[in-house]
Subunit: 449 residues, 4 copies
C-alpha cells in the first residue's frame, strides 16, 4: 500500500493517490491531472475511484479530467446538486486492493463534505489514516463562512463532524487534509506536513475548546473570499470545464501585435517584483508567477483575454497552467522576446520607485505621502507602520477613488511582493507618483528590533 | 516542516531528510547521496546533522558521502567503535529549525542502535514522529541474530527498547522505520508504507505478546545472512569507503576484449530472466538487475573484477549503482553492443530449457529429474512440489557437489526469477541438462487451486 | 539561420526545421509532431510553411498535425490529387525570415515530387542547401518502381530532375535528403549523414552513368514493397488521419483479460529476440521494438486490435508511438506486469530452440532440417549457407504451406533478429520444431573466415 | 558516420564530435566535457583522438577533462610550447572507423593553428568536410592581431593557409568552423550555421580580395581583447586546470553571512537587466547570465572570491558553469533566498533610474547630463546619439575618473543590457545620479525612422 501526496504549492492544495494491489483511488484531484493517471499506470494500477471530499471553491477540480482518461467513477457526499458523479452515504465502504475506504459524512465546511477513513485490514483493527478534506487541518479546522446566514449552524455541524465522526477513529490515525499552510481555506494551518488525530487532539487549538466556544470563534473569524470562488463553485457543481490535457499552445505576439491585442485584453506581468519595479508597461498588472494562486482570482476577468509578459516561454507556460487551475482558459498568448523586445521596439515603459527601509520612517511622517498597508486584517494585528492606511490588497481596486492622485503613494505588505501588485494597480489607474517599499514589514521589524 | 522519504527499492531501504526553516537532517543515508544534498539545497536548506540509527549491515551508508559535500556532523549511538563521527547519548537533544530531535538509546538490533523522536513544538506537547531504524518496523521488529551467542540478551534488549523507549512516545506518533517490505532485515514487514505507534500497538503481532514469548520467538527466528554483510559491517565501522559522486565511467568492451577479460573476472548478466534463458554465456551468472540488492551479496567477490552483460549502457549504469550501494566498486565495464554483438561475433552461447506449469507434474515424478526449490525456508512452509529438493538459493553454490550431473536439473522458486539464477549457477558449474520452471510456485498454485 | 534535422531512426527518416528571424518552415514532418512545434516556439519562431517533398508511402506525414497547432500552410507539388494543402509550381519562391526557399519540380520518385533550394541571400549568390526528398540521397537516388507499367518513364524523369534541376545548383550546395541508410526507400544509401552536391557528383555511383544506363539500372532494381504502403499512400493523399498529440493512454490488461482479448486481436511481443526465444506466448508475433518501423507493415492488420507484450509501460508506449507513425491507431493495450505476470498466472508459454554457429554446419546437412534464410534478395547475393531455402521475411507468411511441418525449421538472417520474427511466424502457424540461429550470417562469416 | 555539433551559446563556440564505427574524435572540446564523453558512450563509441585546432584564448579547453575520462590522446599543431598532448605535422593522417582525418597546417590566427580535412572514403575521392578552427569562418576569417608586432606576417600566413591549404579541398567541402556569429574571435561571422567552401569562395567578402588587400584589411581591423584572454592562453598552454566534472556545490549564504563575505569578494548580480534596475545592492556588478561569456572576462578577478545574486539555485549553477568555462573557479556561493531575502533582512538596496526613448532627446540636450554610449567601435559607425560620449564597456572601469560625479549619467548601448552593466559600474564607483536608457539605440532608431 502506498499513499502519494500531490501538493500544488500555489494554492497549498493537497491531493492524494492511494494504491493497493493494482487498484488506485484519487482524492480531490487538481485539474492538471496527468500526474495521477501517469503515476497510477507507472505503478501498474488502474484508478477505480475518484473522491471529492467537498465542492471545492478555490480551484477547478480534476475529477472529470481523470475520468476522461480512465474508467473511474466520481463520488460526492450528499447535500449539493452535482451534475456529474455518484453520491455516497455515511458509512458506505469501498474495497481498494487489500484496503477498505469508509465514507464519513462530515458536514460543516460545506453541507456535503465527507471524510474518508482508511483501514488497511479489518475495520475492527482500526484506521491508519483519514482524508479530511477541508474539515480538519493540521492545527486548524475548515472555514464555515460560506453560508452567511447560517454560520452558526455550519460551525456547529463542523464541531460535531470532527468530534463525532473523525476523532473517534482514534489517536493512531494519520491525518491527510486537503490544504497545508498558506491556503485561504484556513488561516491557522501549521507549516508542518505531518500529523495524527492524537497529535491534533492534544495540540490543535480548535480542539481544546467547548462546542460553544468553537462556534463563537468560528462565527467571528474573517476569511478572504476572492470573487473567483463563485466561478469555481459553479464549475465544480455543473462540471462544465474544458478538457485540460491536450497539447495546446500559447501564441507568441511581437510587440506590434501584442500592443494591438492589449486594447481588449488584460495584461499580466508575471516577472519578479524587482523586474516589474525596474521596467514595465503601465497598463499591466504585476502578478509574480508564485502569486497567481493566491491573487489572480481577485483581479482577473474570465470573459476577457489574458496576455502574459514573462521571462520566457516556459515561464509563461507555467503561469498558464496556474491560471487554468483557477479556471482561466482565456490566456491568449505572450509577448515574444519579453520586455527586451518591447523596450527595443520603442514601446512605452515605466518604472515604479523603490523605497528602502531607511527611507520609510521619514515618508510615514510626510503629509504629502500616503502609506498603504495591503496585508490581510490578521496581519495588521501584529502592528502597522504609524500613519499607514490599511486596505487589503483584494479590496484595493474597488477603493481607489478615496486616494488623492496628487499625493505620493507608497505601498507595503509583508515582504514587498503584494506591495508591488498594489503599486501596479495604482499605476494602471492613473496614479503618477507611486512607490513600493521593498522588504516591507519584515525589514521594518528587523530594523526596529 | 517537511519530511522527505527516500526509498531504495532494491534493498527496501528507507532514509529520511527532515527540513525545517533552512536547516536539514539526514537519517540513514545511502551511498549515492546526491539526492539528499540536492534536495536540501533546492529547498534552500543546509544539512546540519547526519544520524545513523545503527551500524548498517546491508549497504554502505552514505554518511561520509553527505559529509564530503556539506558541513554536517555524523552521529552514532554508543556501543560500537566507529572510526568516524560523534557519539550521542540517550536523551540528548538537537535543534533543527523550529523542531527538536531527541535521541532514544534503543539497543537490541545492534548494541548502539538509536531511535530519534521528533517534536514539532515543546517536548511536553508530544512527539509527532519517531525514526526507529531497525528497531521497530511496520508490523514487525528488527532482527536480533547478529550476536549468535547472545541472542536472548539482544532479544530482551529489543523488547525493552520498544516498550520502554519507543511506545511511551504515545499512540499519536508516526512511525518512520529504516526498512519496508522485502528487506532481509525483517521477514514480516508489511507492505504498507504508513503507520503510527498506536496502530502498531494494536496490530503488530510482535507487540501483542509478553517479554518471554517475544524473546522465545526472536531466538527461534531464522534470517538470511548474506556473506557480504561482514564487508558492510567493516566498511560502516571503519568508514573506509571510496568517494561515490564523481563522474566515473564504465568501460565498453568489444566481444574480443570482453572474452579475454572474462578469464580473470566475474560475468554478471543483468538482463531479464527470459532473455537469459533464451541465449546467454555459459560462464555468466544470471542476476536480473532488480535482484542485485537481494542476491549480489551471496555470489559476488569483492576482490575480482566484475563484467556486466545488459540491455544497454543505461541498464548497466543502473546495475553499477546498485552494486556500489553494496560496496562493489570493482565493476570494470560492460559488453559493448550486448548479446547481439556477442552472438554475431561467433562467441559461445547457450540456452536453458524452459519448463511450463503443464510439464512440472510429470517431471516431478521422473526419476531422472531433480527438482530444486531455491526459495527461503519460510516460503517452504507454505508447501513445496512433491519430491523437490529444498535448498536456499544463497546456499546453492556451496552444495552443488551433492547433485548428480547425469540427471536433469529443474529449478523453481516463487515466480521463476530466482530459479533462473539457480539454473545459471548449475550451468556455470558444468551441469549440462538444466531447465527452469517459469511461473514456478505461483503458477503451480494457480493451476492446482 | 538554423537547420534542425529530426531523425526517426526506425524508418531512417529525415525531416527538417528551418528557422530564420522568428519564422520557421518544416519539411516532411512525421506524425508525432510536437518536436517541430516545440522547437520552433522555444526559438521564438512561428511555423509558416509545411512542405511535403512528395506523397510519402512509408509513414503517416505530420503535416496535418503541425497545422492543427499552428497557422502554417501545407504545400505539395502538382501531379497528385491531395485532399488538403496548397499546390506549388516549379520556380515558386517563399520568403522565410532572411532566407529564400525556391521550389524545384523534380518528378521521378513520384509524379509530384519537389525539391527545395535554400538561398541565404540573393539567388544569384548561390544556394547553400537543397532538400531533395526521395529524389537524391547520399550515395543513391530515389526508387522509381511505384508505377509498375511506367518504370522506364519514371526512371528517366528522375534522371532529368537530378541532372537538370538539382545538380545545376552547384557543387557548394549541402544535400538534405529525406532518408538515411537503412530506409526501404533506397538500398544503397550511405551511412554518412553529411554530403554536398559536389561530393555526390564525384562519388555517387548513380551520378557516374549515362541516362540510358541509369534507366536500365533503375528498371532492374528490386525493392521491398510492404503492404502498408498502400494505406500510407491513401492516408497521405486523403489527409484522413486521427489527431496525434492528445494525452491518450494504453490500457493495462491482467493475464485473464489479456487472454480473453487475444481471441480477436493481434499479439505483438516487442521484447528483445533473446527474451522471445527464452519464453513467449505461442500466438504472439515477435517484433522487437526497433524492428517495428521496418517490419510491422508486413504483418499487422489495420482493422484488428493490437495487444502488446513488452518490458514495461514505457517500452510499450514507445512501441505504440512507432506503430502510430505507420498509421496503426489500433493498439488496445498491454499485458500488465509483462511475461512474469503471464507465467505466474499459469498461462501457456513456449520456447524456441537456440542454434549456435557451431551447430549450423551439421544442421545444414541434415535432411530432416530446413534452413530458411529470410534476408532480402540483395543480401543473398553475398552468399547463403549451402542448402538453405531463401525466402524474404516479408513474404514468409504467404508461403508457409510449402514447408513440411514434420521437419525441423531453422531460421536465420543477418544477426538473428529477423530470424526470430520468422521463427515466431512458424510457431504461430503450427510448426512445432522451430529453432533460430542467433548470430546468423555474421557469426557464420566470422567463423568461416 | 555522424558529426555532432556542440554549441556553447555564451561564447558562440562550436565543437564537434565525429563518430564512425565505434570510434570517436573530439575537436576543440569545452571544459564541461561530459557532453562529449556521454554522447560517444551512448553511441557505443570510445573517444580515440582529441584535436585542438589552436591554443584557444577565449575559454578553457576541455581536452584534459575528456582525457581524464577516456584513453584518448590530445593533439596540437606545432609552433607553441604545450605542456601536454602530442604534436601533429602537416599531412599527417588518422584513421577513425571508416574515415580518414588529415591534418592541414594552417597558421595565421596562431602560429600552430591546424585544420582537419575529413575523407569518408579514399583521399582521392575528395573531402566531405573540413574543421577550420579559427582560420576560416562562415563569411569571415580568423583574427590575426594577437602578435602586435607581426600583424602583417600573420595576416599573410592566414591568407596563404586559406588559399593554399583549405580552399584546394574543393567546393564540395562542408565548413565546420570553431565559432559562430557573436564570437569575439571574428566580427563579421554570419548568423548562418551552414556553409561549404564553394559557398564561401563565392560569397565570403574576405575571399574576394587580393593577398595585399587582405593583409591591409586585417592589419586595420580592431577586435576586443578582454584581459582574461591572457589567463586562458596560459592555462591552455600549461594545462593547469582543475578537474571539472566532480559533484561540487555552491554554498548558500544567508543575508548576514553574505554581507560579511562581501567585504573581500566580488558580488555578481546575474538577474535580468530590469530586475537589477528595480532593486539591487550598490556594491554589485550587474552581469545578466547571458552576458557572462562576453563580459565576465573584463570585470572579474581570478584571485578574489565571487558571490552570486540570482533568481534561484539553478540560475546560479548555470552562471557558475559559464564562469568555470572561462576559468573562474573562485565562485564561493550565492545569496540564499535571493533579493527578497536581502530586502526583508533590511539590507541596503538601490534603484537605477529608467530612461525611455521618449525622454532621451531632451536628456541629450541637457548640459547637466552625460550620455555614455558603451557599444563597440564598430557599432558606433552606424551612428550615435548626438552629444554622447563613446566609451567601450570593457574600457569603462579604467576611465571613470574623467566623468563628473555631479552630473547625471545616462548609459546606453544596443538594447539596454550592456547599458545596465555600465550603470552598475558607475553606481559601484560612487556615482549617485545614474540612469539607464532601456531599448537604447534599437528603440531610438525605431522612433526616428
Amino acid at each position: 500500500m502506498k499513499i502519494v501526496k500531490i501538493k500544488t504549492e500555489s494554492i497549498a492544495h493537497l491531493s492524494y493517490l492511494i494504491i493497493s494491489n493494482n487498484e488506485a483511488a484519487v482524492i480531490d484531484p487538481r485539474r492538471d491531472a496527468e500526474i495521477y493517471v501517469d503515476e497510477a499506470r507507472e505503478q501498474g494500477a488502474e484508478i477505480k475511484y475518484i473522491f471529492e471530499t467537498h465542492r471545492n471553491e478555490d480551484y477547478v477540480t480534476g475529477s472529470r479530467e481523470v475520468k476522461r482518461h480512465t474508467d473511474a467513477t466520481i463520488y460526492h457526499g450528499e447535500g449539493l446538486n452535482f451534475n456529474f458523479g455518484e453520491f455516497v452515504k455515511d458509512g458506505q465502504s469501498f474495497e481498494l486492493g487489500d484496503l477498505k475506504l469508509k465514507i464519513l459524512s462530515t458536514p460543516g465546511h460545506t453541507p456535503e463534505s465527507i471524510s474518508i477513513a482508511l483501514y488497511p485490514e479489518e475495520e475492527k483493527k482500526g484506521a491508519v489514516g483519514v482524508f479530511t478534506g477541508d474539515t480538519l487541518f493540521v492545527n486548524d479546522v475548515g472555514r464555515t463562512d460560506f453560508f452567511k446566514d447560517e454560520m452558526e449552524k455550519y460551525a456547529g455541524l463542523l464541531y460535531d463532524s470532527i468530534h463525532e465522526k473523525i476523532l473517534p477513529l482514534g489517536k493512531q490515525t494519520v491525518l491527510y487534509p486537503a490544504h497545508g499552510a498558506g491556503s485561504v481555506c484556513g488561516g491557522g494551518i501549521a507549516d508542518r506536513e505531518v500529523s495524527t488525530l492524537g497529535f491534533e487532539m492534544d495540540n490543535n487549538p480548535m480542539l481544546q475548546i467547548s462546542r460553544d466556544e468553537f462556534i463563537k470563534k468560528k462565527v467571528n473569524e474573517t476569511h478572504q473570499m476572492p470573487p473567483y470562488f463563485h466561478k469555481m463553485e459553479e464549475v465544480n457543481l455543473s462540471g462544465n470545464d474544458e478538457p485540460f490535457m491536450n497539447y495546446k499552445h500559447l501564441e507568441l505576439f511581437g510587440a506590434q501585435s501584442f500592443e494591438s491585442k492589449m486594447k481588449s485584453a488584460q495584461v499580466v506581468d508575471i516577472r519578479d517584483a524587482e523586474a516589474f519595479l525596474g521596467c514595465a508597461m503601465k497598463e499591466s498588472l504585476a502578478l509574480p508567477k508564485d502569486m497567481i494562486g493566491a491573487y489572480a482570482g481577485y483581479f482577473l476577468d474570465y470573459d476577457k483575454d489574458i496576455l502574459l509578459v514573462g521571462d520566457n516561454l516556459d515561464h509563461c507556460k507555467d503561469a498558464n497552467n496556474e491560471l487554468r487551475r483557477l479556471g482561466y482558459d482565456n490566456v491568449l498568448g505572450l509577448l515574444k522576446g519579453g520586455m527586451t523586445h518591447w523596450e527595443t521596439s520603442a514601446k512605452p515603459i515605466e518604472q515604479i520607485q523603490l523605497v528602502s527601509v531607511n527611507e520609510i520612517e521619514d515618508l510615514s511622517k510626510d503629509s504629502e505621502t500616503i502609506l498603504v498597508d495591503v496585508r490581510k486584517p490578521g496581519e495588521w494585528e501584529g502592528g502597522i507602520i504609524e500613519g499607514a492606511r490599511t486596505l487589503f490588497l483584494g479590496d484595493l481596486e474597488d477603493n481607489l477613488s478615496e486616494f488623492d492622485k496628487n499625493k505620493k503613494i507608497v505601498t507595503y505588505c509583508g515582504s514587498g511582493k503584494r506591495a508591488t501588485i498594489a503599486a501596479s494597480l495604482f499605476k494602471k489607474h492613473g496614479f503618477e507618483n507611486v512607490a513600493c517599499f521593498m522588504g516591507s514589514m519584515k525589514a521594518y521589524n528587523v530594523k526596529n528590533s
